[in-house]
Symmetry: C2
Subunit: 426 residues, 2 copies
């Protein structure tokens, strides 16, 4: 197999013709496939069905602290649920606020809170001329959507295999209008990057100009390993931050959305005592409390971190073949032709494919033409602007392995075709 870069124009033309014919054949099939959805597949959801039996009409719905779980009360979560969430991200349960059904909601509310109230007595961001956020790219579109929604200027930070480039971060935080950064430190969305120890340490040691600068540490995939024997671990950001007196600089987020049921899970925020008090002083106006029965349901089903880990290994067994199939296909069809890069993730929900520069939009459009929906071009970037038009987020979990395999084959054909055309046009 020859790299496209090494092909003659004639070879490229022949390749293009044959790929175009193949593409036309695929189109004629009228497929309807989808690799865009970062959702668990049905088999994964089935694993959590027994959770719906652990709370029933015979259950004594009392918290260990005596609270009737069926009545009003408890703003920050029942102690059992605090412990469960704390065990996921390895912090003291005292640092946990158990939120509602969605960590996205807790992150949105946190930005909203900072925007109209200010953090810990600082000027509300809405009263400032300019507020900026750092956005490691590629990243999670819904993070960027929140900050864009609040009119916050987003600044791209490049990523490498160790996480965000800390030189860029350290430089950027000297600007007092830079108020935060979005991070997915473990199995990052979409690349699956695991922040190195040095990266975490440098985050923990940051000396931002803005006192109300906060790291939004979205540990969304903390327990989402693909392998039993090869699991990434990252340093505990709070432990590191403590060494620099920087505990107040961090909000950590996680949830069981992709552990139990998306939409019916529980979310958690971890923060310093000072930040928690600040959050609760506002939250007490917003709600009397979140769903304590559902908190208890999660505790009764998973019991502890070991229970969650065992459950996640069952999920891994289901989705690992999907990731591996994709990795193998890209290794066979794309790598040798020199027309794309990706990292083989050890966890998380995505594979991030980097096409030749200027090809992502066209690949996604042609996939659509062939009946395969991909995540929108530019999605993993602020303002949906991929500066190189090259990143495509692939979400392997939702389709069956069979459907995914069919979709992946179409994708690979399209990547080849578009790359070919691109090179011919140069």
């Amino acid at each position: 197999m020859k790299k496209y870069q090494e092909m003659t124009r004639e070879e490229l033309l022949a390749e293009q013709q044959s790929l175009q014919a193949e593409f036309d054949k695929i189109k004629a099939k009228g497929l309807s496939l989808d690799m865009s959805r970062g959702k668990p597949g049905t088999e994964q959801l089935e694993l959590a069905m027994p959770m719906l039996d652990v709370v029933n009409s015979k259950t004594v719905l009392k918290s260990e602290n005596g609270t009737d779980l069926r009545n009003y009360g408890i703003l920050d979560g029942i102690p059992e649920a605090k412990r469960l969430i704390a065990s996921m991200i390895d912090v003291d349960p005292e640092m946990i606020l158990v939120y509602g059904n969605s960590s996205l909601n807790s992150m949105y509310d946190q930005v909203a809170r900072a925007y109209y109230e200010g953090i810990c007595g600082h000027t509300p961001w809405c009263k400032l001329e300019k507020v900026k956020f750092l956005c490691p790219v590629p990243g999670y579109d819904r993070h960027f959507a929140i900050t864009e929604h609040f009119g916050i200027e987003m600044i791209n930070i490049d990523m490498n295999d160790d996480g965000p480039l800390m030189d860029q971060v350290e430089e950027a935080v000297k600007d007092p209008s830079v108020k935060g950064i979005w991070c997915v430190p473990k199995y990052s969305n979409p690349e699956g990057v695991v922040y190195s120890d040095e990266t975490v340490r440098r985050f923990a040691a940051l000396k931002p100009a803005a006192e109300d600068f906060r790291i939004f540490w979205d540990n969304a995939y903390v327990v989402h390993h693909l392998y039993e024997d090869e699991q990434a671990e990252i340093l505990n950001i709070f432990d590191e931050a403590k060494k620099y007196g920087n505990e107040d600089m961090i909000f950590e987020f996680c949830s069981t959305s992709k552990v139990s049921f998306p939409g019916s899970g529980i979310a958690g925020v971890a923060a310093s005592k000072k930040n928690l008090e600040d959050i609760k002083s506002q939250l007490t106006y917003q709600t009397i409390g979140f769903d304590k029965i559902n908190q208890y349901r999660h505790v009764a089903f998973f019991k502890d971190r070991a229970g969650i880990d065992a459950h996640m290994m069952k999920q891994a067994a289901i989705i690992r073949p999907k990731f591996e199939m994709l990795n193998d296909l890209l290794s066979e069809e794309i790598a040798p032709r020199g027309i794309g890069n990706w990292k083989k993730p050890l966890g998380g929900y995505f594979i991030s494919f980097e096409a030749l520069q200027g090809c992502a939009k066209e690949i996604i459009a042609k996939c659509k033409e062939a009946g395969v929906t991909m995540t929108g071009a530019g999605s993993p970037f602020p303002y949906k602007k991929d500066p190189k038009d090259s990143v495509i987020r692939i979400a392997p979990t939702y389709p069956s392995l069979e459907e995914l395999t069919e979709a992946a084959k179409v994708f690979v054909t399209v990547v080849r075709l578009v790359s070919c055309e691109k090179m011919l046009a140069q």
Copy 2:
């Protein structure tokens, strides 16, 4: 029995002495009773326990529209839940947005949305010099806490047996900085007032100066009748508003918090198409969707409005004796002495007691001294300022009938004692 107002000073002194002796005896008992909590009692919660069986590991968790209830998706609620909520407040299901576990949360978010985003393209309230809200009093402390939290100036509106005094409301809305009003139209908190047809019509016909003026119609007690044969009904505000082209002026709120389980219920917002689109255009950044499994659980258990009504009659059977005991005791001990007024509610969660002017704080303090917790003085008023220091909110549902009876007797003794002292001091 003589009215205190008709007693001689000597008679009052004798009365005071005997009451003081009684009060000292009560204090010696070291009671610990509570009439402050607007929460369902345990027996009421027991009624909903079978709801925890209708969804289990064998349930097919698919919405009628095909959505897997266990996965991401559906911002505004599953169609079945929209219908159930719509049936509670008698509107078209298309007008419903099913919110999370708390209508308070949905009201807070609505004010927050108006504050930092603006309603339907209008200037966000945070950008305005002055924003005012009308607050019918006595009213719900958590409503007032929200508007106070956002720095919104609150203006008292007096109530009578027909609801808020509409002359005051109509006059006040001529001020363009008046942006909203809190209403609990049926079995109002705390008086149990039911808005008359004329009141609802005049609300529906309001011509406020501010285009983004909204009526926050918190129909919290819409199905919370105390009697089978004597149930208040109010006019449908949306039907009336339609006659004046005023549908966009209303946000209606309700929930199942005091139907199923507080904290584990579902809430609903009803609004015009234009308002719903406006809400959803923001909400889509805040969450992917609320807990659909819990939405379905409510539908599977209650089925429809008839199911809810039947359930609420079982609740009524439990709490009615508590309301009636209080009503009887006040009728026997307070009314003939001319030292307090209240309305006998047909539904809702409270009895609002109006003591002699200047006595509420002292009554509440003395109850505390005797081991009986009452809702804080001033609570039913903006800024917790009861202009006459006379209103005391009584919450009969949470204690057992036995405890409530004991607490009520203490309350009555204290009301007599404080009234006596007040009259002697004059």
